[in-house]
């Protein structure tokens, strides 16, 4: 099933529609307020785009520098060219160390490579500890948003899941539900052999990985279990702590309008001999899984992405259909680019077309990714590779043929205006138009009025003479 069908289903899902409506204002208004208060948003945004471009231009050097510094601090750096390799590496670490339970904080890369499935196949129990991810693990659903994974669920739906999972009386208030989840999770933090986290950035000059969270679960995951595994994409590397200082000013503000998140956890290596706390081993899995294909090509700007979610929060298409309609881990405008690029344009045909090019995402993006332009480039690839349905290709070809031939165009529009005016009848509205039912299913087509501007203008000029 493709985006178009899934989206139509989601539009009919009244519960989802209500949940999405509630969430929309929170993200958009929150960001707008934080940006207004910031004062020098555009300046820092321009600098952040440069920071990300510099990181991508020096990706090879920064990654090697990161590996050297992380290794010096006692971490083991692993390189995964594919999703399968990434899973095999983590499963291998689990097997070598007799791991039976892994506690995870939020990681979209782990979703991307299907890590949970791989670990469960290797006999490891996996517990999601981010509240949203925990809810979705209970519901057996994928995230629908990269920052707020369970944004599509209502409080009542979550209460229902908790009754089933925890066997306790139904709760009605969010703080009580959060407390119940904390209680359920606490034991897992203590009994897990392995903690798995993502990393919002990795810093070359220090060999540091880091998480930006609001729940504190990442701190538990990165410090309590005896093995800490970080899984992240190679494009997350940045040069310096100074670069991080720039990006962290934009990330939480763009995501949910926070000036800073509750927790900002920088991790450099495992427990040292003179330290009391921390994991015995730290492994960092750097995943390519298609990212290098974008380097040096027309889609490279997409690799600037810092996963804030602002593009989807501001996208009127996402706001109406939710993240699951997009069919893979990354929804919204960034997903409409990443999914075709990572899983193949032929498998994600509708996604580059799932936008009106209203431009809200490009305005909201903190690292100035020209998202509509990149979607248009994918449409060009589809056009060149003849991946769109033939009626659409024919229509574009016919339109192009006519529009470049003024006499033919004038004749066709003259006929078209008359026929359509006749179809419009007395109220001037076309209620059904064969071939254009995408429009007329839910809207009338206001009909042309019988004569084109060019005809009427020629008449006027004739009369004047």
């Amino acid at each position: 099933m493709f985006f178009k069908q899934r989206a139509s289903e989601k539009l009919g899902d009244e519960l989802l529609q209500g949940n999405m409506r509630k969430a929309k204002g929170k993200f958009v208004d929150g960001r707008a307020k934080a940006v207004a208060e910031f004062g020098v948003w555009e300046e820092v945004r321009a600098h952040a785009a440069k920071v990300r471009d510099r990181a991508l231009a020096n990706l090879d050097a920064y990654l090697v520098e990161f590996e050297a510094n992380a290794t010096r601090r006692g971490a083991v750096v692993h390189w995964a060219e594919t999703a399968e390799e990434a899973c095999a590496i983590v499963a291998g670490i689990a097997r070598d160390n007799g791991v039976r339970k892994a506690a995870k904080s939020k990681s979209m890369v782990s979703e991307e490579v299907n890590l949970n499935e791989a670990l469960e196949a290797a006999g490891v129990e996996v517990i999601e500890t981010d509240l949203g991810e925990y809810i979705l693990q209970l519901a057996h659903e994928p995230p629908s948003h990269i920052v707020a994974p369970a944004v599509h669920k209502s409080k009542e739906q979550v209460a229902e899941l908790f009754v089933k999972a925890h066997g306790k009386p139904r709760l009605t208030e969010i703080p009580a539900m959060t407390r119940e989840a904390r209680e359920a999770l606490r034991g897992h933090f203590l009994s897990a052999d392995m903690g798995i986290s993502g990393s919002n950035f990795v810093i070359a000059e220090t060999g540091t990985t880091l998480t930006v969270t609001n729940e504190g679960n990442a701190d538990m995951v990165t410090t309590l279990p005896r093995i800490h595994v970080v899984i992240t994409g190679i494009e997350k590397v940045i040069g310096t702590l100074e670069d991080f200082a720039t990006l962290i000013r934009l990330l939480p503000r763009s995501a949910i309008g926070q000036t800073v998140t509750n927790y900002l956890t920088l991790t450099t290596g495992p427990k040292m001999p003179d330290e009391a706390d921390g994991p015995e081993q730290m492994h960092i899995v750097l995943v390519d899984a298609g990212r290098t294909k974008l380097l040096g090509g027309p889609m490279q700007e997409m690799l600037r992405c810092i996963r804030c979610g602002a593009c989807m929060n501001h996208c009127p298409v996402y706001q109406n259909v939710g993240g699951h309609a997009y069919g893979w881990v990354y929804p919204g405008p960034m997903g409409s680019i990443l999914t075709p690029v990572y899983v193949g344009l032929e498998n994600a045909g509708d996604l580059p077309n799932a936008a009106t090019f209203c431009g809200e995402c490009a305005v909201a993006c903190p690292v100035k990714i020209p998202l509509p332009d990149l979607m248009r480039k994918l449409r060009e690839q589809q056009f060149d590779r003849k991946l769109r349905p033939w009626p659409e290709r024919m229509a574009i070809a016919a339109w192009g043929f006519a529009a470049t031939r003024p006499a033919l165009y004038a004749f066709l529009s003259r006929v078209g205006a008359r026929v359509a005016a006749w179809m419009g009848g007395s109220d001037g509205l076309i209620h059904r138009l064969p071939g254009l039912d995408g429009w007329t299913k839910g809207r009338d087509m206001p009909a042309p009025q019988g004569r084109t501007f060019r005809e009427l203008y020629a008449l006027r000029q004739g009369n004047r003479r």
Partner: protein, 240 residues
């Protein structure tokens, strides 16, 4: 001052009155207006469907047709964005013709911007004794900065403006998007119509015919035959 009027394909086919309203405003302000008879389309439908070459061919055609005009004016932010932004920053970027399109872009204006910023009009022929709510079309707003100009002109015509919630939110038209992904497009348009209804104006006014046809189509389908849907040129020219 010789001003070329780029009518736009939608106005030519569907609402010639908007073209004549623009003509009246420009001539009324003392411009010598020419309307090249061979003009068809700016090429945006092809451009946004991945047909880059046909978009370039049409852009070149427009360039040639308006070569000897001091200014080119279009009653559309969307077509103006295509000719002012897409040509220079994408279609002909780094090519020998880029400079030609930069010169065209500098002379090209969306109608409300031309009236306010170049002609600096202080009165308009139209009178509108009622309330209007203004829909900001995406390209005009975000690519060109069209925001206060049409409101200023509507004020000159005596219209009271009742701002709708989410005036800057897309109406769901998106050119071929409205047909390719009709269900989503319709829902976005319904959201827009909800805001319009809540604003309680006599007319919803905008600067791009695509959005206006979309909005009018949804309003009429949902039984609203009262709210007028007008281009600002019609209102301020007194032809609404």
């Amino acid at each position: 001052m010789k001003v070329g009027l780029f009518v736009t394909c939608l106005v030519d086919l569907s609402r010639p009155g908007i073209g004549f309203a623009a003509l009246k405003l420009l001539e009324g302000a003392g411009c010598e207006v020419v309307v090249p008879a061979t003009q068809t389309c700016c090429g945006q439908p092809g451009y946004n469907s991945g047909g880059r070459e046909v978009a370039k061919a049409l852009a070149r055609k427009v360039l040639a047709e308006f070569r000897d005009c001091d200014y080119v004016v279009a009653p559309s932010g969307s077509c103006s964005g295509q000719m002012k932004v897409a040509t220079v920053h994408d279609l002909f970027k780094g090519e020998p013709e880029q400079a030609d399109f930069e010169r065209l872009a500098a002379r090209w204006y969306e109608l409300s911007q031309f009236l306010v910023e170049v002609l600096k009009v202080e009165r308009v022929p139209g009178r509108f004794a009622g309330t209007v709510t203004y829909h900001d079309s995406c390209s005009g707003l975000r690519e060109l900065g069209v925001k206060m100009q049409p409101r200023y002109l509507l004020g000159m015509a005596g219209a009271r403006i009742a701002e709708m919630e989410g005036a800057e939110r897309c109406c769901g038209f998106g050119g071929t998007f409205s047909i390719k992904l009709g269900d989503i497009s319709t829902r976005m348009c319904e959201n827009k119509c909800e805001s319009i209804r809540a604003a309680g104006a006599d007319a919803v006014v905008g600067g791009d015919l695509g959005c206006l046809l979309n909005i009018e189509g949804r309003l009429r389908r949902t039984g609203d035959t009262r709210t007028k849907v007008l281009h600002f040129a019609q209102v301020i020219a007194g032809e609404g």
